[in-house]
Symmetry: C2
Subunit: 296 residues, 2 copies
Amino acid sequence: MTSSGLEPQQNGSDLAQQPVGIVGLGLIGGSLGLDLQARGLEVRALVHRSSTADRARERGLAQRVDTNPAVLQGCGLIVLALPLDRLLDPPLELREALPAEAVITDVGSVKQPVLERWRAWHPRFVASHPMAGTAEAGVEAGLAGLFAGRPWVATPDAGTDPAALALVRQLAECVGAQWLPCDAAAHDQAVALISHMPVLVSAALLEAADQGGQVAGAAALVRQLASSGFADTSRIGGGNPELGSLMARCNREAVLTALATYRQQLEQLEQLVQQERWDALAQRLQGTQALRPEFI
Amino acid sequence: MTSSGLEPQQNGSDLAQQPVGIVGLGLIGGSLGLDLQARGLEVRALVHRSSTADRARERGLAQRVDTNPAVLQGCGLIVLALPLDRLLDPPLELREALPAEAVITDVGSVKQPVLERWRAWHPRFVASHPMAGTAEAGVEAGLAGLFAGRPWVATPDAGTDPAALALVRQLAECVGAQWLPCDAAAHDQAVALISHMPVLVSAALLEAADQGGQVAGAAALVRQLASSGFADTSRIGGGNPELGSLMARCNREAVLTALATYRQQLEQLEQLVQQERWDALAQRLQGTQALRPEFI
């Protein structure tokens, strides 16, 4: 039993040898439960509240759902599908319930602090981040096929158990994700630039539109005239507030660095407007027009 | 003939009494030509290049298309569907070709400077702005139904000929748009906040994502990991560069004021991150989450 993660290259069947445990059945945990069961695996889930457990059973998110950490005993791989704050500050009861021989991974959107803490707590921890999502959260949010074609980042370092890493890779590929190993610091900087900082950029836009209508009639007019361009640019700034704050908190240094870079670029564009350098402004916008396809 | 715009309340048929002229057959002009013809009106169009005229005739954007301004003679209403720079600095030949008794309107996304200039040039000028668009431009861009359900702003002032205004309203409602009269300064401030300034905000985001990957591997990773949230937030910053520059140029004061408001909001959010005031940050994001439905 305990050798399940040790020869993962051998035949690719290791993931199926023991049940997979999932802690938390929100969007990521619930989606994972559905996909893994659809591929014939046994899934056992630990949730916090008994009402969540009831609903998760109704939805069939796992074969076994319990509020007792003992449900995780016998699992070869356990996925911590918890919000970042609970992941970084888990109940001792949860840590103690994790079998020492199991492979543990997470799904958090910040990797350096998670890796530091969990490596100290569990020898077979692998930091990972499936980059899939919808605007939904909670036990109703999980849906089949969420990970198909999406990147599943892992951030191994010199201390990562290679067999544990291979088992998490099997998990990612089993649900159709693209395995993407990289450095934890590079990951955290990248997500600060493309995800965490943009939440603040987008939120400030909503606040400016709300407060910037000083001319008589303009405050009502911004609301009447906002169309698809504004809807797109403001979307993530109007998203889950706890999540936005949590990301900034858990990736604070990278977010501040990204904001400083952002502010510098915006000030340069503002200067071009102030100085009426219209050709230079058009050139900068030609640059961003050419840049965008690199990201999309 | 010349009374066509003078009793517009009478029977609503004035728009049909004389041909409608369109100057420029890009996205707005071409779409207007298609919709007006579909409603049985006669449309005559003036374009700059003979190759455009050929293609416009093939597409049936107007019954008559010419590069000679004389095509506009006999039109009761003429729509200047020109880019802002050409609208603000039109060839003298065009101005001289506009019949003095015709009602003239425009479709520019900035209204104060347009109103000032054109009022001096033509007594029956009405400043207007149909707020509809796609990412396309040019003679291939026009499409039927573009204006349906969209706001059509007009910015009359004390000097606006009421009969001329009523005729432009007929035009807007004829293509299914929602008539929205307002103050020109309020309009210009509102579009700066929801459209012109956000282009720069979004462009700066692309530049920051491009340049902010300082950690080894991060520059490649931002490109691999950017997903739908970044795609939305960066969309208008990756749009038509000449248009973005032109809007900032023609609405410079309002754009600078909007940028100052924006910068202030963003700096406040940045301070909350710096000071690790996570509850306050979550509260601000709760505010923007609540705000967004007011705009969408």
